[in-house]
Symmetry: C2
Subunit: 395 residues, 2 copies
Amino acid sequence: MLVQKYMDMLSAKSVIRQLSEFATARGQEIGYGNVFDYSLGNPSVPVPQAFTDACMELLATQDTGKLHGYSPSLGITSVREAVAASLERRFGLPYRKEHIFMASGAAGALAHALRLVTEPGDEVLTFAPYFPEYGPYVNLTGAELKVVPPDTAAFQVNFGKFQEMLGPKVMAVLINTPNNPSGVVYSADTLQRLTDILREKSALYGHNIYLISDEPYREIVFDGAEVTCVSEFYDNTIMCYSFSKSLSLPGERIGYVAVNPRCPDAETMVNMCGQISRGTGHNCPPSLIQLAVARVIDQTADLSVYERNRNLLYTALQELGFTCVKPGGTFYIFPKALEEDAKAFCQKALQYDLVLVPGDTFGAPGYFRMAYCIDTEKVERSLPAFRKFVEAEYH
Amino acid sequence: MLVQKYMDMLSAKSVIRQLSEFATARGQEIGYGNVFDYSLGNPSVPVPQAFTDACMELLATQDTGKLHGYSPSLGITSVREAVAASLERRFGLPYRKEHIFMASGAAGALAHALRLVTEPGDEVLTFAPYFPEYGPYVNLTGAELKVVPPDTAAFQVNFGKFQEMLGPKVMAVLINTPNNPSGVVYSADTLQRLTDILREKSALYGHNIYLISDEPYREIVFDGAEVTCVSEFYDNTIMCYSFSKSLSLPGERIGYVAVNPRCPDAETMVNMCGQISRGTGHNCPPSLIQLAVARVIDQTADLSVYERNRNLLYTALQELGFTCVKPGGTFYIFPKALEEDAKAFCQKALQYDLVLVPGDTFGAPGYFRMAYCIDTEKVERSLPAFRKFVEAEYH
């Protein structure tokens, strides 16, 4: 018969999706330009012309058998080399192709990383606020996701709760910095403390606790900050990267797993990814897209709009009296709602055509997420609506 | 720690891969043109120009946000509609987009189909000779693949053994027609008997037994034969299709699951595939490739070379005294070896630069597979080598 667990998932409708559907429906009434849709984390800036040119040139010049032929299961060798060389250039760690497994986006990378180091019955810790898809990503492998409650002061790490929850069944800790939904970048101090604890507990329990670092927003950092390399802090780091946000390519499903070159089992782990693929049916990312991405490996889309939007929104929200941690990157901001029940708050906001996502979805009730990957002009137009909403409902 | 089952898989080297590596290495000595490499099932005919043109036009004319943006998790709506319309046109069953889930090749389609209807502990039956990847595909879901021994007379179905093995733990039967490695197309009589048994046993055991039909070779049939639609024979059929062979696109990972419109749960099953993806990390096939394939949905590469090669080889092998079922499709042929131990037979053939794969790999010892997706000119040049081999070793 049909498998019950997937049937059950059908009835649990995603809050984000429902809000996005509301926005679309409301757009049909009043014009989508008039709906201030902050629901979806969909990149809004164009793909770099260089990527399009790379695809066109490959299509125009390459033998089709080679261009569209089977990729090796770990990814096309020249592409793995290009990724490794780029990581080495940027972060100074001795990455080689042997440390790289090409994956279909961050979702694909995480599916492989999780299966490398966890089995049914194991636990994986992550920190609220967190990307809600981590739930099914982890739980459908048979391991169990446990969520460490938020450090609401700064959305760094609640170390007290983390230490309590880091028991012997935890085989991996999953972090996401820059963070969806808070927009916060983990500080060097946070990463140092976190990895010190992982080293200590690995020794105590007599098994490695791996750090799975989900980094799709790595290139979107503000105020001229340097991009932090999580792997520098901890040998047993499995980096999961996606080009979805940096190149605005979420539909093309392209990313990679990069195991820290200092991890003693790095090469074995990459080879294991090729075996894991046989079970997940992944095989390899599309060959044309692999080859095109390799040609623009150090480029990004023009991401400056996200910082402009952050500046506008952060200033305006503060003026309106919101408590809010200033995002250091991504295209999200995660303010405190003006009443305890963020669901009620977001429900009221809909009357002002403001589509906001309650923090409950991200394991942090009382807050709400705004995805500001939209035109700056629309952000500007949303501010009067925000003012009207706050003044009418909360003054 | 690292997960043992994937570590263990690393040491089990694929026979096909080893032979392919031998062919490459030998090619470096004597020129690859002089190695008669029949090891790999890699399409050898060019991608249709219409597909390349479709990609180029999409890249040149579409907004990049739409072209490369997130695809819905079931696939792009217009693409699902194009697939459904094509299937309805060709096979007369009332396919609608609600019956279609876009998947990353046949491997991705099978990963979803298997998870729809089997849980750990369940059994899946397939028929020897069979594609050896079915082993990890099934076993890594937690279900168990059981292989029905071959009907060596015609490489149809060994019904006696099938009935014996079709116990109450079997939730799905996995077939592949046209077949890799035998090249045989299941007859209407075979499909009728097989599905009659499935209906009977489903009633007896009180649960549906699903038929998973792996159809990557569907378009490669010879002698002007009509393409058989397995789904016509059985309501609870889950069709798994790939464009890898029909359009020579194995690296682009594009295919679909099509649940029979007559299956009462078809729409639910397609929706469930979208949930299964969250666990496998698949998400959706690449958006550019989805859109391009939809534009050439009824086209194929020029597949006629495979029939020419089949004719040449079948005639030559018969003249040389081989026992051989005539392939009705694919680009494989599966003759009986000239000694009982097909591995020894294939080992000897290497001395004549003939790279053949022993049937043991496919669950049919005593036979060998030739993948004749190579230039006809090379097939012709291989025939004297074959004659020399047979005369020197077996006369």
